[in-house]
């Protein structure tokens, strides 16, 4: 009904809800919120048809600040709610907001299954490598040796790699960005363009409990040497084109090569193909330090979406059948007792 009146071009202001934002001053979440609002404007999305679903944690307060529909659910379960929402109304544009604790610890199981099923939605995992809302305990992505109230002399459990987890779970779209990056809206737009589950790891600075943990690659100064922004069909170059990523054929892995005079082909630098799953696996596993941080759209190779497949099958199953409740209730072998009769009259 509403498509009778075209939606006027919205502004960022139109995507801001009337709720007071309650993150700590300086939190990376503010920048992500702005980037998402910018993305909505750029996409020309309809707030009435846009849904933000979250679990529990600092990041999960996100839906309250968007002037769309929003559901702040329970810890770790946002993917399950999103599945019900999308199956019930496939026309809704569903965005999930989760964190490293919410999405990979208590809700790891649901993250795995929503990716495996390939529900059409965007999953933004805000990774700050710490539990913020509960005051700073180490999380499943905290680096070895993280000091926290529950690991006073350093954490001993090995961290999970969110993008590697997503690929392992069967994700068909995996991307990375970080809170203050101006590229973030572009990454989100690519995720939105992907039909199916799109997984975006967003490095987010927790100013109180894990301050500047991503500074080594996110800091503006020297970023070009530490960030590898991937672009479909373009060579994997960084450091102003003086270095690139090549295939180490001998070890079946990736390596950093120097590029002289811009001749990346001579240096063996590979061209980014977002549909190459093997290379995607290698990119998400690249250890930061010897390698730059791989950012942008790492993998994008769509497959039929879950809700689409369900709808298709439902149509097939309904084909030729009439929803006759009276007939359904009287299914199988029946018999009739006539009035004033003490037994059956006939079998039907």
């Amino acid at each position: 009904m509403n498509d009778m009146t075209p939606i006027a071009k919205l502004t960022i202001k139109d995507w801001e809800s009337d709720q007071e934002v309650r993150w700590c001053p300086g939190c990376g979440d503010y920048a992500i919120l702005k980037a998402v609002q910018r993305t909505m404007v750029d996409l020309g999305s309809d707030p009435a048809k846009t849904v933000f679903v979250s679990g529990i944690g600092c990041s999960s307060r996100f839906p309250y600040y968007m002037a769309s529909y929003g559901f702040h659910t329970i810890h770790g379960r946002a993917p399950a709610f999103a599945t019900g929402i999308k199956l019930a109304n496939p026309e809704l544009d569903v965005w999930l907001v989760t964190g490293d604790g919410d999405g990979l610890s208590i809700g790891g199981n649901h993250t795995m299954h929503v990716l495996r099923r390939n529900l059409d939605c965007q999953i933004m995992l805000f990774n700050n490598e710490i539990y913020g809302l509960t005051k700073g305990q180490y999380s499943p992505t905290s680096r070895l040796g993280t000091n926290s109230p529950t690991s006073p002399i350093g954490s001993v459990d090995r961290p999970a790699l969110p993008c590697a987890f997503a690929l392992g779970a069967g994700a068909r779209f995996v991307a990375r960005g970080f809170d203050v990056s101006k590229e973030l809206p572009n990454v989100l737009k690519a995720a939105h363009a992907h039909r199916g589950a799109a997984f975006i790891e967003i490095f987010q600075n927790c100013i109180v409990y894990n301050k500047d943990v991503f500074e080594d690659f996110a800091a503006p100064k020297g970023a070009e040497a530490r960030q590898l922004w991937l672009k479909q069909g373009e060579p994997m170059l960084f450091n102003k084109g003086t270095q690139g990523i090549a295939l180490d054929v001998e070890h079946l892995t990736l390596k950093v090569v120097d590029v002289a005079d811009g001749d990346w082909q001579a240096a063996g630098v590979i061209v980014h193909d977002v549909t190459n799953r093997s290379v995607a696996h290698m990119l998400v596993e690249l250890p930061f330090g010897p390698f730059p941080m791989a950012l942008g759209v790492i993998y994008d190779d769509p497959q039929p979406s879950f809700e689409g497949a369900v709808a298709q099958q439902d149509v097939k199953q309904r084909e030729g059948k009439v929803a006759n409740l009276a007939k359904l209730l009287a299914k199988g072998q029946t018999w009739t007792v006539a009035p004033e009769d003490q037994g059956p009259l006939s079998n039907v």
Binding site: N2, S17, P47, A48, K49, V51, I56, P63, Y64, M66, A67, Y69, G70, F71, H72, T73, I74, R77, P79, A80, F81, A82, T83, G84, I85, L87, A88, N89, E91, L92, N109, H110, M112, H113, V310, D314, Q317, R318, K321, V322, A323, L325, A326, L328, L329, A330, G332, Q333, T334, W335, T336, V337, A338, P339, E340, D341, Q342, G343, P344, N347
Partner: protein
């Protein structure tokens, strides 16, 4: 081939067995065999034939937790009991009159249940040395006289079956699979049942393999012919005529609880004008509902097999928010996992139906046995003050109405509703007067589509938590233009739903949610007495699947002149408004339950009545006799002997030896 073992001392046969002088009012037959013998199928088909013959009936299927327990073992025994008769039947019967034992283990685990003088039909062909050992028999019981207090009819059913299907060229294993049909044929002869519907059914079942259909039909006919022609000790095997039960006019079929709930949910959604979303995760005995609904897509049903119990309920809540009727189902352990999400549905005030097919607990407990021990979990089992209406089904047929009622409450009051059923109701079958959907009162849902409030600045605004006169908030689907808002599990301000932790808000909203649920009592019928007067010496009050034995026990006690009434409660929470007063008009209150006294506690708490518990937690339903005895304690002038705990009953299904050899 045929081994006929006539009773050792046929002269001293008791006269009270299966061969009565006049036609009996009711007969109880138990089929018992190896879990691979097809006993549940045999029982199911015998049930159908019995229903078609116009008898009222009740069944009790009992099967092991193991899918394919080792053959011939005591714990691999699967049994199916049916009670049918010419009067109203509400229980699967106390002690069987006839036991069909397909092997030594089946005999051992079930024979003690048989009435003295009852008839044993045993497949002598299975009483090999090896099978006797597996059943822990040192001597063949068919030969040592240990079964003298019953009538014994033992012959080589296996060999007779092989003989009857010989023309079809089946392999030995396949041929022996027809054994259950042979046995069924004999049973149909005994009770004078029509074979035609069964033959039709076999033809349909094996329509892709007509040879198997023909073989099974041949076995069925051979078993029937055996009854007709064989002279077995002359007087042992005789036809038993059970007259048809008088029943209201109309169209009938048999239905089990899982089917009835599935139909009820679909009907409920139709009456509400909604599509239905069912999120489930496999668990015994609740899975059958998902199995049924997946085949009803044309009714606007979407089913989702989730990754776990939590995802199952969360997806259903998501679907409810999006405007469908969300439903999830499970058994105790799964319901425990869903607790947190139920709380979210309570605070966000979204409709949801949660079906709990109760089984023995705690933890994994008794996965295939029945219990009523999740009542506390249903009424109280969530964090915070989280009132949830609870409806309990008493029988397979009643489960249909209860499912419709659960849907009605959920959508009319924007609340999760728990529907309690149990393993017994889910699996048992009974005749069902097929309801006419045209006679149901619809309860169509209206979604809010326009701004419903005014902001302080005078602008029109959306108030997602603005309550109507019953305290119910509007249902707003995402996708509705102009009504964008956010909901969640954090305490919210009245009307706007904005986050608000303030003391006054939490106080107000907690009470508002409580009063909304309490108010449901105004929409349910007043409590009636199922049997007897509205006052007197004793009220026996029950809920759920204990209806049958309580009803019959009260009927018998009243026939003896005792001032006792039966009250059956469908709405466990909130309870009917007049229930407290009704209970107070009796001198005593007895609460038989398959738990340690949970409903008793709720009644004491709500009404300050001295309700006495009668508890049974052996995974077996009450027998009529047990409740009748307990009723007697209120009339024997001995004080202090009322109620209590009943021990496990070795004669009842599931037999103790079968599950714990």
């Amino acid at each position: 081939m045929t081994t006929i073992l006539a009773p050792k001392n046929s002269e001293s046969q008791p006269q009270t067995g299966v061969v009565p002088e006049a036609a009996p009012e009711a007969v109880v037959v138990r089929f018992a065999g190896d879990s691979g013998d097809g006993m549940q199928l045999t029982g199911g088909q015998f049930t159908l034939s019995t229903a078609l013959a116009g008898n009222d009936l009740a069944t009790f299927p009992d099967f092991p937790a193991e899918i394919r327990a080792p053959q011939g073992t005591l714990f691999g025994v699967s049994a199916f009991q049916i009670n049918f008769g010419s009067t109203e039947i509400t229980t699967a019967g106390d002690a069987p009159d006839v036991l069909v034992a397909m092997n030594p283990a089946a005999l051992k685990t079930n024979v003690t249940a048989l009435k003295p003088g009852g008839l044993i039909i045993a497949d002598a062909g299975e009483f090999s040395k090896r099978n006797l050992e597996k059943a822990k028999y040192e001597v063949n019981p068919l030969e040592d006289g240990s079964l003298a207090k019953w009538q014994l009819l033992a012959f080589d059913i296996s060999a007779l079956t092989l003989e009857s299907v010989k023309p079809f060229g089946l392999g030995n294993k396949e041929a022996l699979r027809c054994k259950n049909m042979w046995t069924l044929g004999l049973a149909l002869w005994m009770f004078d049942r029509d074979r035609a519907p069964l033959i039709e059914w076999l033809k349909d079942k094996f329509k892709k393999n007509p040879v198997l259909a023909d073989a099974n039909i041949a076995a069925l006919n051979a078993g029937h012919a055996y009854g007709e022609t064989a002279e077995i000790g002359g007087h042992v095997l005789e036809k038993v005529q059970v007259a048809a039960a008088p029943s209201p006019a109309g169209l009938y079929r048999t239905v089990n609880g899982a089917e009835a709930i599935s139909y009820g949910l679909v009907a409920g959604a139709q009456l509400a004008g909604l599509k239905i979303f069912f999120g489930g995760y496999p668990i015994t005995p609740a899975s059958a509902i998902l199995h049924n609904l997946v085949k009803m897509k044309e009714f606007g049903v979407t089913t989702f097999q989730a990754e776990d119990e939590i995802a199952a309920i969360c997806s259903a809540i998501g679907a409810s928010w999006a405007g469908q009727l969300g439903v999830t189902s499970s058994s105790g352990p799964g319901i425990a996992l869903k607790g947190e999400a139920m709380g979210l549905a309570v605070i966000t005030e979204l409709p949801l139906v949660i079906v709990n097919s109760q089984r023995g607990g705690p933890s994994t407990g008794l996965p295939t046995k029945t219990e009523q021990s999740d009542l506390y979990q249903a009424v109280y089992g969530r964090n915070g003050d989280a009132p949830v209406p609870v409806v309990a089904a008493r029988s397979p047929a009643d489960a249909f109405e209860c499912a419709v009622e659960a849907c009605r409450i959920a959508v009319q009051y924007m609340t999760p509703v728990i529907l309690l059923t149990d393993g017994y109701i889910a699996n048992a079958a009974e005749p069902w007067l097929v309801p006419d959907p045209a006679t149901f009162t619809p309860f169509p849902v209206t979604f809010l589509e326009e701004l419903n409030g005014e902001a302080p600045n005078g602008q029109k605004t959306v108030l997602p938590y603005k309550r109507d006169e019953r305290g119910v908030r509007p249902w707003i689907k995402p996708g509705t233009p102009g009504l964008m808002h956010r909901i969640g599990g954090i305490e919210k301000a009245p009307e706007t739903g904005d986050l608000d932790y303030s003391p006054d808000t939490h106080q107000k909203q907690t009470i508002a949610r409580l009063e909304k649920v309490n108010g449901i009592a105004g929409s349910i019928p007043a409590q009636e007495v199922s049997l007897g007067e509205t006052s007197g010496k004793l009220a026996v009050i029950g809920w759920g699947s204990t209806f049958g034995p309580i009803h019959q026990a009260v009927r018998r006690a009243r026939a003896r002149g005792l001032a006792v009434s039966h009250i059956h409660v469908r709405h466990i929470w909130p309870m009917p408004a007049n229930l407290g007063e009704l209970l107070k008009s009796f001198d005593h209150v007895l609460v038989p339950e398959m738990n340690t006294g949970q409903f008793k506690t709720v009644l004491r708490d709500q009404y300050l009545v001295d309700a006495k518990p009668l508890n049974k937690v052996s995974g077996q339903p009450f027998t009529i006799a047990e409740i009748e005895t307990a009723i007697g304690t209120f009339f024997d002038n001995i004080s202090g002997n009322e109620g209590g705990e009943l021990p496990a009953d070795t004669t009842q299904l599931p037999s103790i030896e079968a599950v714990n050899p």
